[in-house]
């Protein structure tokens, strides 16, 4: 809910700058490592879209991204299984950098 409230906060300041009175659609990218659950985000959005900032029936599209790591030793990039396998699949090294999975980004919004 707090995340969706910050989403509404961002949109409330951005929409007027682009002369948009009613938002019809918002697109979010959500990484697996954030533990932000798409269903919970959708539910929170369904409550918050009642605000005048949104057109009736405004839609939230969520693109989910898996967690990916890159080994600092051998450079191999790999999917981090179950959010837990921070062990390089190439050399077994521990020095793994998170390159994907922490996203919580508003990609775009649409409206009139």
């Amino acid at each position: 809910m707090a995340l969706m409230e910050s989403l509404v906060g961002v949109l409330a300041s951005e929409a007027p700058r682009h002369n948009i009175a009613k938002i019809k659609k918002v697109k979010l990218t959500v990484g697996a490592l954030t533990h932000a659950l798409p269903d919970a985000l959708q539910f929170a959005f369904s409550v918050l879209r009642e605000q005048p900032l949104f057109a009736p029936g405004a839609e939230l599209e969520i693109e989910e991204r898996e967690t990916r790591g890159r080994c600092r030793d051998c450079g191999v990039e790999f999917a981090v299984e179950g959010n837990f396998g921070f062990l390089c699949s190439g050399c077994g090294g521990f020095a793994v950098e998170i390159i994907q999975g922490r996203e919580l980004q508003i990609d775009y919004f649409e409206g009139d």
Partner: protein
């Protein structure tokens, strides 16, 4: 009309956290963000840590809680400046909440400011408060599965306190399993096995923390 944003949802929080971090660096204060599940023993641990350090460092505390001021009252009894933030239902503190209470402290007269976050292992890991270090408390009674279930918290931590070590014989907690899991998620993470209740292991932690504060002051 479609408006491309590409803006991080937590971007506003990150900006405020950056301001707090710069302020703390300027004042030479170590800001610590203390996190755990509910019931891991954060407040007792904090009380004992403050009691051990209060003659050697100038301390203050920000208590985050969903409701109630019980924890803040416990800290105030030690004679240490404390401000309570009630999140009114939110499961974590954010940077703006911390920024807004900073004027309550004499920042020129502080060495260590500890934020006790809301008891929760998920959201607090995502919200940067401008801290120099996150310290996560895990207790033996919670079971080993907290580490693999909440990897981000343990990855982000600068130190891990394993509390309730006195209860180890009465639980199914395995120290070997903890070491294995941490080896995969955060190798080299400083870990202190202790019991805030009995005092076992508290010295090692307090000394380490003191060294971190001194290092910050020297910079």
């Amino acid at each position: 009309m479609q408006i491309k944003l590409g803006q991080n949802l937590l971007g506003a929080n990150a900006a405020i956290a950056g301001e707090i971090r710069r302020l703390m660096e300027e004042k030479g204060i170590l800001l610590l963000n203390l996190m755990s599940s509910p019931g891991a023993g954060k407040t007792t641990l904090l009380e004992k840590t403050l009691a051990a350090l209060k003659d050697r460092l100038r301390l203050a505390v920000i208590e985050g809680d969903v409701a109630t001021t019980k924890d803040a009252e416990r800290i105030a009894r030690l004679g240490i400046p404390v401000v309570q933030i009630n999140t009114h239902g939110a499961c974590h503190l954010d940077a703006a909440m911390v920024r807004d209470v900073l004027p309550a402290f004499d920042l020129d007269g502080l060495d260590l400011l500890i934020v006790e976050n809301v008891g929760n292992l998920v959201c607090p890991a995502e919200f940067d408060l401008g801290e120099a270090m996150k310290v996560v408390v895990l207790s033996t009674t919670e079971g080993n599965d907290k580490v693999p279930k909440y990897p981000l918290m343990f990855r982000e931590a600068g130190a891990l306190l394993l509390n309730k070590i006195d209860l180890l014989p009465f639980t199914d907690f395995h120290l070997d399993e903890l070491a294995d899991d941490l080896g995969r998620i955060h190798p080299g993470l400083p870990r202190f096995d202790l019991s805030a209740r009995t005092g076992e292991g508290m010295d090692r932690w307090s000394e380490w923390l003191l060294a971190q504060v001194e290092e910050r002051r020297r910079r």
